[in-house]
């Protein structure tokens, strides 16, 4: 026996220490030790080993069903022998039928689509208390379920049902042992006492208390601090509704309430009967052997079968025949009376028969309406029956559902006997059990019919899920010089061109107009060349509605195209709430808000960019300014992506040099950030890398020789290609910082990006202080991807570090060549002013969603550092630490 350590610890239990002798403690320790060893041995068994033991146990239960039932009735003097035979058979055969093909060892369930596997871990040692009302059936059930789940059980039967229970345990144990179960897997306390129970309930080697019994036992189990399945009293309300099949309902109620003399705690207690059928129902009950009590007889019953002190049923009545109760109470009833029916006028202490009565006395209530019937049922439910069982007889599905809604019960039995229905698998498809979970209403942790899964620790083996990724862009992109000619292939009744005043003045609108399909009615809406405002959008939407536009052409830079995206959204779905749609999100596919799918209008959106930077013609983003509320709203959804993009360089030839540089660096930053993003994929990488190559090659030429059509064309393509990359891989911390910096000090977006870009590359290339959780990325590879970029650009270098340093140097040179200021200080912002702005800069940068896909999780202190590096400028952008993680 392995007891030494355990014995020392057990002496710490105050109650047991005071009341249990050392010999008794040694006895109990012996039981626990033996069960613990058995449970440990059991862990080595396979599913096949277990199933080989279970089946003979079930057969033994069936063979001994009558013997055990007779023992139970003789010992407890409760219930009906024939019914107890049925209970024993249900506990064996029906339970087996449910569990036989279920896996309880190793992998028990697999969910390949979720990359999830459930595995079984036995609990170990269970301490099980069994009731007087269903003694042997409960033991059979628990033994079979315990073996199926590889657990050992110490039984503590109700003292008045000890003989029959210990015999049931013996039969199960000997059968199990004969077929290979571990020695000591079941045991039964010889003379169970409250002190024994208390000792075992607190024992450290007991894994679970499974208490089926009265409220005291259940409360003790839950008070022990141990995991417990405590299943106790109920008070089942029944609604006999006017549409019910009365013949069936009355017979079912009699079957249930008289089954084993009403000892099953799920049996019917108070029936609310609709007024319309009340008399007929009582007449039917009477015809079938029930005695309908007069008012005086009901009073007599109340005084005798319910304890006036406690308000609970008198133990002497439990499990007795109706005729015996009548005789004891002094009621004159016909021979063969099965059930005593007591009409009551309400629920509560002043109506004693409205409580649980585990004997064939049934309270009935005449309900004047459905509402009143439901009210009475709820009152009964709350008078000791919470979480247990409810029963309804009705053909009205709406009322059945309403009953299910208002009654708090783990089992709502419909048009069948409550007691046998709740046991499961006989009248319905509930899991077969002899232990009813009553949920929190009954102080339990489950509302389930307790079975094998409650005797297991279920482990979930969750494999890393390779989330589905995507690459979404407009389904048609036309590019290179004169691509605008493709407009002619899009038929339209009415087209609205959205543009800005300058583009209209320089003739771009006319150029577009010339290529629109003939016979198309064309209207031009001119909006300011600035981030779109709500007011401007709303006015433009009215125009779209007025002309019943079926095509929108957005001709302009990012601001105009963004405006057109939002106009389309509001035109097609006028109820779209932009503020709501702009709610923050972490993962586009799991976002809380949904963009409208129902459209009252439909219009094709064709985007023709007139700058080479934002790439808005292919992105799912749009920024809106709400001047009234003083804030910007960023919308992001693939439904915003234009249907067609026309990337024609002739529309950008008039761009000034400064804008060429600013938008070009914006394009390069998009590509670099998408390239190292946690959402990067081979699809986005191909775009990002190509955009970087094009930008490095053509941006200096486009800047220095704006008339070079090839360079301008390639930069226009580069901007679009980079945008395709970041539309799907997103950007990073550079953009988060630049948005904040630009907004605070009025710095153009491309310029703000440029001021931070070398520092951000150095930052991302270093070993992160904090890694970004991302199911998409495999190890930390940002530094390697920068090195790949350096290789692509033929920048030289032997090691990853050297290549990253060379990339940073090349970007510095490019920025110099484009004439960018190389520090924030150069913009005339004083150190004091910058320092003062820092909290706001960091707060806004951290609120910006752009960094969420950054490979390195930026800490706020790191953002401060990056801002200061940007302020100080060149010479500080070097990789801070050597990357050590070469995991890919």
């Amino acid at each position: 026996m392995i007891t030494t350590e355990a014995t020392k610890e057990r002496i710490q239990i105050p109650l047991a220490e005071k009341t249990l002798s050392p010999e008794r403690i040694a006895y109990l320790e012996g039981l626990v030790s033996q069960a613990r060893i058995a449970a440990a041995v059991f862990t080595q068994f396979t599913q096949e080993d277990v199933d080989r033991i279970v089946k003979p146990m079930v057969l033994a239960g069936l063979e001994q069903a009558q013997y055990l039932a007779r023992l139970a009735v003789e010992e407890t003097r409760l219930g009906v022998m024939e019914d107890k035979v049925i209970k024993n058979m249900v506990a064996s055969e029906f339970v087996y039928n449910y569990i036989k093909d279920r896996r309880t060892v190793g992998v028990i369930r697999e969910f390949p689509e979720r990359n999830l596997i459930e595995m079984a871990e036995p609990i170990g040692v269970l301490f099980s208390l069994t009731p007087i009302t269903n003694p042997t059936s409960t033991v059979l059930f628990k033994c079979i379920v315990a073996i199926k789940t590889r657990n050992a059980v110490i039984f503590s039967p109700h003292p008045k049902a000890w003989k029959c229970c210990s015999e049931a345990v013996r039969i199960m144990y000997e059968t199990a042992l004969k077929h290979g179960a571990p020695e000591g897997v079941f045991s039964c306390l010889d003379t169970p006492t409250l002190q024994d129970n208390a000792y075992l309930m607190h024992h450290k080697d007991v894994g679970l208390i499974d208490a089926t019994g009265g409220p005291g036992v259940v409360k003790a189990a839950y008070s022990s601090g141990k995991p417990a399945l405590g299943v106790g009293a109920g008070n089942t309300p029944v609604y006999l509704e006017k549409t019910a099949d009365l013949n069936t309902a009355v017979v079912d109620i009699i079957i249930s309430k008289t089954f084993d003399n009403g000892t099953i705690c799920a049996s019917e207690q108070t029936v609310a009967i609709d007024d319309e059928i009340y008399d007929a129902a009582l007449q039917k009950f009477s015809e079938l052997g029930a005695h309908i009590c007069s008012q005086e007889e009901t009073k007599l019953l109340e005084r005798t079968v319910i304890d006036p002190q406690t308000g609970f049923m008198q133990p002497m009545a439990v499990g007795q025949k109706a005729i015996d109760i009548a005789r004891f109470v002094g009621l004159q009833v016909k021979p063969g009376t099965k059930l005593l029916i007591a009409p009551i006028q309400g629920v509560g202490r002043e109506h004693p028969l409205s409580v649980e009565k585990l004997f064939p006395v049934l309270a009935v209530y005449r309900a004047k309406s459905t509402a009143e019937a439901l009210q009475v049922c709820m009152d009964v439910n709350h008078a000791g029956g919470l979480g247990h069982t409810g029963v309804i007889f009705s053909r009205n599905d709406e009322i059945i559902r309403k009953f299910g809604e208002v009654i708090n019960a783990g089992r709502i039995i419909v048009n069948s006997p409550g007691a046998i229905g709740a046991l499961g698998a006989v009248y319905n498809d509930l899991v077969p059990t002899f232990s009813f979970g009553c949920g929190t209403g009954g102080g339990n942790s489950t509302t389930d019919n307790v079975n094998i899964y409650h005797y297991l620790n279920i482990k979930r083996l969750a494999r890393r899920t390779q989330n589905h990724m995507w690459f979404r862009v407009p389904n048609q992109i036309y590019f290179n010089m004169n691509a605008v000619e493709n407009l002619g292939q899009f038929p339209s009744r009415t087209t609205v061109i959205v543009t800005n005043p300058v583009l209209e003045q320089i003739g771009h609108v006319d150029l577009v107009r010339r290529h629109i399909c003939p016979k198309t009615h064309v209207h031009v809406t001119v909006i300011p060349d600035a981030e779109p405002e709500v007011k401007v959008i709303n006015e433009a939407v009215e125009t779209l509605k007025f002309y019943k536009a079926d095509q929108i052409i957005a001709l302009g830079g990012g601001a105009v195209i963004d405006a057109a995206k939002i106009m389309k959204l509001k035109y097609e779905s006028p109820d779209a709430d932009l503020e709501y749609l702009a709610a923050p999100f972490l993962d586009l596919r799991k976002r809380v808000v949904e963009y409208p799918k129902d459209k009252v209008n439909v219009a094709r959106l064709i985007a023709i960019p007139t700058t080479s930077g934002t790439g808005s013609e292919v992105t799912p983003f749009a920024v809106l300014t709400d001047k009234q509320r003083g804030r910007k709203v960023t919308l992001a959804d693939y439904s915003l992506t234009p249907d067609v993009a026309i990337v024609d360089p002739q529309f950008v030839l008039s761009m000034p040099k400064g804008l060429i540089a600013d938008t070009g660096i914006d394009c390069l930053t998009h590509a670099l950030e998408a390239g190292v993003s946690n959402y990067a994929s081979p699809y986005t990488d191909s775009n990002a890398m190509q955009a970087i190559r094009l930008a490095f090659k053509y941006l200096p030429i486009a800047f220095e020789h704006p008339q070079d059509e090839e360079a301008r064309c390639m930069m226009h393509n580069a901007a679009c290609i980079a945008a395709m990359a970041f539309s799907n891989a997103s950007v990073g911390v550079n953009h988060a910082l630049a948005h904040s910096l630009g907004a605070r000090f009025g710095i153009a977006h491309g310029r703000a990006n440029a001021l931070l870009l070398p520092h951000v590359i150095a930052y991302n290339a270093a070993v992160p202080a904090k890694f970004m959780p991302s199911p998409f990325s495999q190890g930390y590879i940002a530094h390697k991807k920068y090195a790949t970029v350096a290789d692509l650009l033929n920048l030289g270098g032997r090691t990853v570090d050297e290549k990253v340093a060379n990339l940073i140097a090349a970007i510095e040179q490019l920025l110099d060549r484009l004439g960018f200021p190389r520090s924030i200080a150069e913009l005339g912002i004083s150190k004091e002013e910058f320092e003062k702005a820092m909290p706001e800069l960091v707060k806004n940068a951290f609120d910006d969603p752009s960094w969420r896909s950054n490979p390195r999780m930026p800490l706020m202190t790191e953002m401060v550092e990056l801002f200061w590096k940007g302020y100080q400028g060149r010479g500080v952008a070097k990789p801070a630490e050597k990357p050590e993680l070469q995991t890919v």
Partner: protein, 96 residues
């Protein structure tokens, strides 16, 4: 210190007697004992009790007991009955 390697080919039926035999050698020889469990697939309750007694005897005689070739499932069983910490394990436990 003498080292005795006791190679046991025990299974459910023979773990107890084999361990009792090994316990006898503790009395006679002392030192370090190596019990080879590489052929033990499963151990039953009597085997675990014998192992417990063996551990007690080893402590009494100040003999270090090393278990070799213990399979992972058996190691789990030893952990569950709180026996694992009472022994040393040679190299790593083995796959079942």
């Amino acid at each position: 210190m003498a080292t005795i390697a006791v190679f046991l080919t025990v299974d459910e039926q023979h773990a107890g007697p084999a361990l009792q035999q090994a316990a006898g050698r503790i009395d006679r020889e002392g030192g370090e004992l190596v019990l080879d469990f590489s052929t033990v697939r499963r151990i039953d309750a009597s085997g675990l009790r014998a192992l417990e007694q063996f551990a007690n005897a080893a402590v009494e005689k100040e003999v270090k007991v090393v278990l070799r070739g213990v399979k992972v499932n058996l190691y789990k069983t030893l952990k569950l009955v709180k026996l694992a910490h009472r022994f040393s394990f040679a190299k790593h436990i083995e796959e079942s």
